[in-house]
Symmetry: C2
Subunit: 326 residues, 2 copies
């Protein structure tokens, strides 16, 4: 029997999760839950149903894991603990400062309900965190660096869109090649924000808008742009649609360390992703399998990628993994 999955929230991430489920023969998308009118929502999976999110509890016995695809700012802090009462749940909560509180909230509910609740799963937090942990444990005398990009930051794109005269915008975060090379060479550079990443912005301006003023406002925007070297390009809506429709992303986690007699070591983990939401969705689906398997073994409570033995992610048995993957 396959693992029956629910998706709660059908934005970019929800659709990415749906695509990934279709690639995993041991999993089945049972239903999508939405805050919109369910009848208006067309999903890609013909065999799955669409329900209003308020009807989720009615599907309690039909769903093994609920993948919660809401936003970290306002949705997940409430949704994940709430639905952990009824389902094994997993989310991609990424507000780093609030992870401890979110973990506690989910843990309390999940332990009481006997469910598993995986939080903060994706690539950062997620696979990048894992690689920082593994590398740091192996090379305790070392330094690690995380670089993001080249990729679209939706938060920065949104910030530019709020500027007067801007019709559409796309912001790319780009790691500085020279900084990457200095890190890889084991030089342990102390890097300022400006030295690690640059930002590149593509803007569709309204007709007659003050282009110079928009560019200045972007470059001087505190927190988002003022600490970075930013390049701004004005393009037409057609070009935006043609060249910037995707949501690529990626990055690097690099740790360099020494053991003895100056012997240096480098551990580098790199992601290059055509679609950030589809990759994040794929990570969520692998860990949804883990949530199911752990719950089957009687575990409960909140978990992060740190707490989950890698074998739980795989559809293969321990014997198969040892024979073919080790």
């Amino acid at each position: 029997m396959s693992i029956r999955v629910g998706i709660l929230g059908y934005g970019n991430l929800g659709r990415g999760v749906e695509a990934s489920i279709a690639q995993n023969p041991d999993m089945e998308l049972k239903a999508v839950f939405t805050r919109r009118n369910p009848e208006d929502l067309k999903i890609a999976t013909e065999s799955a149903s669409v329900y209003h999110v308020d009807d989720a509890m009615k599907m309690k016995d039909e769903i093994d894991v609920m993948i919660i695809c809401g936003g970290s700012a306002t949705d997940l802090p409430h949704q994940t603990p709430h639905f952990a009462q009824f389902f094994n749940v997993i989310d991609s909560f990424d507000t780093h400062a609030n992870i401890p509180t979110h973990f506690e909230n989910v843990d309390k509910v999940a332990k009481k309900a006997g469910t598993v609740g995986i939080i903060s799963c994706g690539w950062d937090p997620g696979m990048f965190s894992l690689n920082r942990l593994y590398a740091g444990c192996i090379l305790p005398q070392g330094t690690d660096y995380t670089f993001w990009g080249r990729g679209v930051s939706q938060g920065h794109s949104d910030a530019v869109r709020r500027i007067e005269g801007v019709l559409d915008a796309r912001q790319y975060t780009i790691p500085v090649e020279a900084a990457l090379e200095a890190v890889r060479d084991g030089k342990n550079p102390e890097l300022t924000t400006r030295e690690k990443h640059t930002r590149e912005v593509f803007v569709v301006a309204a007709e007659g808008a003050d282009i110079a003023k928009i560019e200045k406002e972007i470059k001087e925007m505190p927190n988002y742009f003022s600490d970075y070297d930013t390049t701004v390009h004005f393009i037409d809506a057609e070009t935006m649609k043609k060249d910037h429709a995707g949501l690529p992303h990626g990055g690097f986690v690099i740790r360099t360390g020494e053991t003895k007699d100056g012997n240096k070591h480098l551990i580098e983990y790199r992601l290059q992703l055509d679609s950030n939401p589809e990759f994040t969705g794929s990570v969520l689906v692998a860990y949804a399998r883990a949530a199911y398997k752990m719950a089957q073994e009687g575990m409960s409570g909140a978990k992060t990628v740190f707490d989950i033995a890698p074998a739980y992610l795989s559809p293969l048995s321990g014997e198969e993994l040892r024979a073919h993957m080790l």
Copy 2:
């Protein structure tokens, strides 16, 4: 109180383990066990004792984890199950075809004794296996490739040393850059052995030896060299000592996969190591901590890197990891 560690076997790997323990404040090297005369063995750690391997059992209550640093061919198949009767143990068994049997042998003993026995730990098998597993679970529709090098293969170096007229030899395995690039570009190339790696050999020949004959014998040696493009350099003993004393190694695990609509993703894990035994030793020490923590929680039996939640490798608590590493 620190985790008390024993090292069984004091070759390159044992010394690498010793160096790593010195970098981990929560761990302490208690004793080294050797098959040599203990009085003849000088170790780097002044506070640790040296015993004959036959006296290991006397230290049963003084050692929390025994790191077994023997060879995979003849030592580990006997040593690891044997010592799992008395200690939590960990080894770097790397004869891939015999891993299932070795696992069963250790599992039986360790379960009965209530100890934890981690096998096949290092970077391949070990960190490379982990990365193949994680990447394969995230991108089920994809292909993965492992490249080794640039690094010294001790097995190949030994094979060359057995040729008549060879006084010393060092063999480097080198990944083919064009193959690496084709993989990174997502071209899913089908690569023959010859297309993935080349081999470079440095030889010190005896005076008057038949250089041409040695080179021919190397290049035509079945299994070791005949399937590869091999370059042979003859050097003097001085140059060998000066330029080839180290044991560098490393490599790449790359998986490329697709999600939907042709969206491609690349996951790359790369190691570049000045000292293979010191890095392998560092991995063993991090997992020795895991063995100790798992045994403290009442777990027992054989484990591989697949079975061990990443948090066990760290000296930090779950709270600290979530607050600072996620």
